[in-house]
């Protein structure tokens, strides 16, 4: 029988990453969609970097940053008594950074797809920016929100390189499914590796299928179209 803990840990990581990214990305993508900021292109490039970088590069730098030998790691250890290397918290922070473009891009496209006159009409009716965001913008970009949430969740589940670099392979703490598969193969347990893999394969297929079905029903622009 396979160990189910890596599965639970993976879903916990994906769920928390998605929630945190959703909360961060709504204001951030809103700002990116409407700002005239001079160095917007630089910010957009940084957000997109995880799409092209080998995950081990990001993992490597995070490992250095989190290390108690270095400034950030020392600061966290000293003031918050927290260590990020080889812990679940460290994994979570890495996942948030690594999946950032998968949430920010669909939301940014969603904000841009909304006709400016709707926002103006809401302002004219005396509604604040926050009310307009919650009552007009977000409800009219449901497809983008759905795409962002699903892709972020799925992408976090598929992580390997960053997780391995920052988290290592500690059962119940940082041993997610992708690591477990690698580990099982290393130990020649192909049967177990196969079960984990089939679960991930089926799950990823269904999740992407749901995105395409949902988007075919809506006209909103998004990352996958």
């Amino acid at each position: 029988m396979i160990d189910l803990d890596p599965l639970f840990l993976t879903f916990k990581l994906a769920l928390l990453t998605t929630i945190i990214l959703l909360l961060i990305s709504i204001p951030f993508a809103y700002w990116l969609a409407y700002t005239q900021f001079k160095f917007k292109a630089v910010i957009e490039t940084i957000v997109s970097l995880p799409l092209v970088l080998p995950p081990s590069v990001l993992g490597f730098y995070l490992l250095l940053a989190f290390s108690p030998e270095n400034a950030f790691g020392k600061f966290c250890k000293h003031y918050f008594n927290t260590q990020f290397v080889f812990t679940f918290q460290g994994l979570l922070i890495s996942s948030v950074l690594y999946s950032l473009p998968f949430m920010v891009h669909p939301l940014q496209t969603g904000f841009k797809s909304i006709n400016k006159s709707l926002i103006e009409a809401s302002y004219i009716l005396g509604k604040s920016k926050i009310t307009t965001l919650l009552k007009i913008l977000l409800p009219n970009m449901r497809a983008s929100l759905f795409t962002g949430i699903v892709l972020t969740f799925a992408h976090t589940i598929g992580e390997f390189g960053v997780v391995l670099m920052v988290g290592g392979n500690i059962p119940n703490k940082t041993r997610v499914v992708s690591i477990a598969i690698y580990d099982e193969v290393q130990s020649m347990n192909y049967h177990n590796a196969n079960i984990y893999s089939i679960i991930l394969l089926t799950f990823s297929f269904l999740i992407l299928l749901s995105v395409y079905i949902f988007n075919h029903r809506s006209n909103n622009e998004n990352l996958l179209q």
Binding site: E120, A121, Y123, I124, L125, G126, S128, K135, P139, N140
Partner: protein, 290 residues
């Protein structure tokens, strides 16, 4: 009273133009903006409502300064309390007809006004409908109703009647006029329809290339005194056919095609597509009610 003096560079189809407007709008006045597309009419409404910022100038009302570029004052649209009907309606697609009106209702205001407006705009039957399935005319009525829910003191209307059929148009015009008078609103209407302006406005401003080129009552602005004994109609030449020593010219007046016969000499200078004016003596004109 609103004192308004602004200039802003605009990108029109013909190149860059300067919108330069200096005007005073009295409380309770009904003003029509008339002029070709791209002359700056909509921008004027947008500046007044705070959606666009001019390069220079100020806007002052009786008690407030809404805009003063020099002193860096620019009151946000939310605080100007203006009703605005957008040319393309700008209805919220995630809400029903009724929800669109409810959204516009300021906090703690009575919902009674919503029932009244739904009834008046003949929208009661449609109130729970999805916005996206409405026809153009229905959307326009929802947009008008929504702009009246907040009961603002200033109402800006950007061609609000264009998609309505004649009967409804006339009825809603009457209603807007009634509300305008009852609530002592200050109303600014952008319109291309001279008869509509005649019916509704106290003052017409004719705008061309960003400047007000004529101002006055609709009668003063639109009546050409020199030809008051004559009726002048503008027509376009569609075809010139030779018939013996005469020529038959097919002309388009409004949406009607008519033929007139003239001597060859008279049509010598005319080409297809030319605009001509036809005058007839007003006392000889026969009129029929349609």
């Amino acid at each position: 009273m609103i004192t308004f003096k602004t200039s802003k560079e605009l990108n029109a189809a013909t190149g860059k133009i300067m919108l330069d407007v200096d005007l005073e709008i009295k409380k309770g006045e009904f003003i029509a903006l008339y002029g070709p597309s791209g002359s700056g009419k909509t921008t004027l409404l947008r500046i007044l409502s705070g959606l666009d910022k001019p390069d220079l100038g100020y806007i002052k009302t009786d008690n407030h300064v809404w805009l003063d570029i020099e002193n860096k004052i620019n009151v946000i649209p939310q605080k100007r309390n203006i009703g605005f009907v957008f040319q393309h309606y700008a209805l919220f697609p995630n809400m029903t007809v009724r929800e669109n009106l409810l959204y516009a209702l300021p906090q703690k205001h009575n919902e009674k006004i919503i029932e009244e407006l739904l009834e008046l705009m003949e929208l009661s039957q449609l109130q729970h409908q999805d916005i996206n399935i409405l026809s153009g005319g229905q959307k326009q009525r929802v947009a008008l109703a929504r702009s009246l829910v907040q009961q603002a003191e200033i109402l800006l209307l950007d061609e609000p009647f264009a998609a309505l059929d004649n009967a409804r148009r006339s009825k809603i015009q009457d209603y807007i006029l009634k509300i305008h008078q009852q609530l002592n609103l200050t109303t600014i209407l952008v319109s291309h329809d001279i008869s509509e302006i005649y019916k509704m406005a106290d003052t017409v401003l004719v705008i061309e290339n960003g400047k007000i080129i004529k101002e006055g009552s609709p009668q003063e602005v639109f009546t050409n005194k020199k030809t008051s004994e004559n009726i002048e109609v503008i027509a376009e030449i569609l075809e010139i056919k030779k018939m013996g020593s005469n020529c038959i010219i097919s002309i388009l007046i409004g949406k009607t095609i008519t033929e007139i016969s003239k001597s060859e000499n008279e049509v010598k200078e005319l080409r297809l597509g030319d605009k001509i004016s036809i005058s007839l003596q007003s006392y000889q004109a026969t009129i029929n009610k349609l």
